[in-house]
Symmetry: C2
Subunit: 252 residues, 2 copies
């Protein structure tokens, strides 16, 4: 795994160099859909990372946000989201991240969440403790839902009735954040993230980071996440919160 981890770090380093050139600079922004603007930087990063992967591991598959699927010949797939949190990137807020992960079938082997401006990097590796800038991090214990800190990128990732129910049961909901929220959960600063409408490249790298920190990720039915999941994602720092939240998610 060390060779693969070193390579994932090299990918993240390369992405960071490109992204820094575009951060807070005027760039052409074309709107792919109403809620998913994509930037020049996004495309430049993915092209570079795909070239690096194809040169080093030509049999591995690639699934990227911008340039689609390259089929795998060995079961392994690199999943890439150059800039997760494009809106934050566009307004110049360093809470976006570069997501890089490697899956073997339905098993996540490693995941990287990298914030290239503040230089913060979470790395999750199968069977190892998650690190943040080289230091081991761990989720916090939070058995009481009332005290839990809940995060979600946008109210559109919940439903109005869910927001009402959450506001009744939880004192703390923070909006915005994208992948960065899951890094904060891995570090014990946040307890629950609830989102939907995610694509595999939005969550694939998060799973090993959260799991390696002692947390749990699943879909809204409690099933483990795979690259074929339906995009409804929940993350828990303390698994004892899972049942109560999942029962809320089933009722909406």
């Amino acid at each position: 795994m060390q060779e693969l981890t070193d390579f994932a770090n090299a990918l993240a380093d390369e992405a960071a160099i490109i992204i820094a050139q575009y951060f807070r600079q005027p760039v052409a922004v074309d709107h792919k859909t109403k809620s998913d603007p994509v930037t020049v930087a996004d495309r430049a990063v993915e092209q570079k990372l795909r070239q690096m992967i194809e040169a080093r591991y030509p049999d591995d598959g690639i699934l990227g946000e911008e340039f689609g699927i390259k089929d795998t010949r060995n079961g392994r797939v690199w999943v890439l989201d150059p800039i997760d949190g494009t809106k934050s990137f566009i307004i110049g807020r360093p809470s976006f991240g570069t997501l890089i992960s490697l899956w073997d079938g339905d098993t996540p082997l490693l995941g990287v969440i990298d914030q290239p401006i503040t230089k913060e990097r979470w790395i999750g590796i199968k069977g190892q403790a998650t690190t943040f800038n080289g230091q081991v991090v761990h989720v916090r214990s939070c058995p009481d839902l009332r005290n839990a800190r809940v995060g979600s990128t946008t109210p559109r990732y919940m439903t109005p009735s869910l927001i009402v129910e959450l506001n009744e049961k939880v004192d703390f909901i923070a909006w915005g954040g994208d992948c960065y929220l899951y890094g904060l959960l891995a570090g014990g600063n946040l307890d629950i993230v609830i989102e939907q409408h995610l694509e595999p490249f939005d969550y694939a790298a998060l799973v090993p980071v959260v799991h390696g920190a002692g947390g749990e990720m699943c879909d809204w039915n409690g099933r483990p996440l795979t690259l074929q999941s339906n995009g409804q994602v929940a993350a828990f720092g303390d698994s004892s919160l899972k049942e109560e939240i999942l029962s809320m998610l089933k009722n909406i």
Copy 2:
């Protein structure tokens, strides 16, 4: 003004030292109200800044989030919010800020937005160009509402009908951010911020920063902000967007 500006910088420096000690550390969090948690760091910073102001400018008034009002004897009031964006602070996301401003009656003399972790500081001074880490910044031109980037800390700072109307007219809404959004607007990365339920210490420092960058801030009726405003706040990078937005705000 240079002496006052130097002093405001010294206040922000001192606040940053204290805040860095508490960032991402376990601290006791007591919930003042459901949406306004307040931390040990918050109180420690305000106490320190009040001591510095009272020692240096004993006749100046002070209005702080945590410890209330000290009456002015000369018309000047320092307005302090040690940690604006407490939720971001608590979950370890560096998009909160320390807000320091000085007003003379209804006139803002200076405002500082400081992000102590990423070391980003916006300074607005009456009659001068706003700076970001020492470099002059300016809002961007964006005459077409469709292309405008809108930010707001939370959907609770808008109304459901306003959110629906905005989503029809604007392609881009980013959530989260607190004071940081206004710094980004001053730098030309964001065009509009709409919020309500703000206290004077939430917006007092923002006004000189936005105005000095060529933008405009007002209440939802278009009136200039003072320390007695009603907490409904709008900020525009391009003033030509003001009329259309204000007419939306009047109808809700």
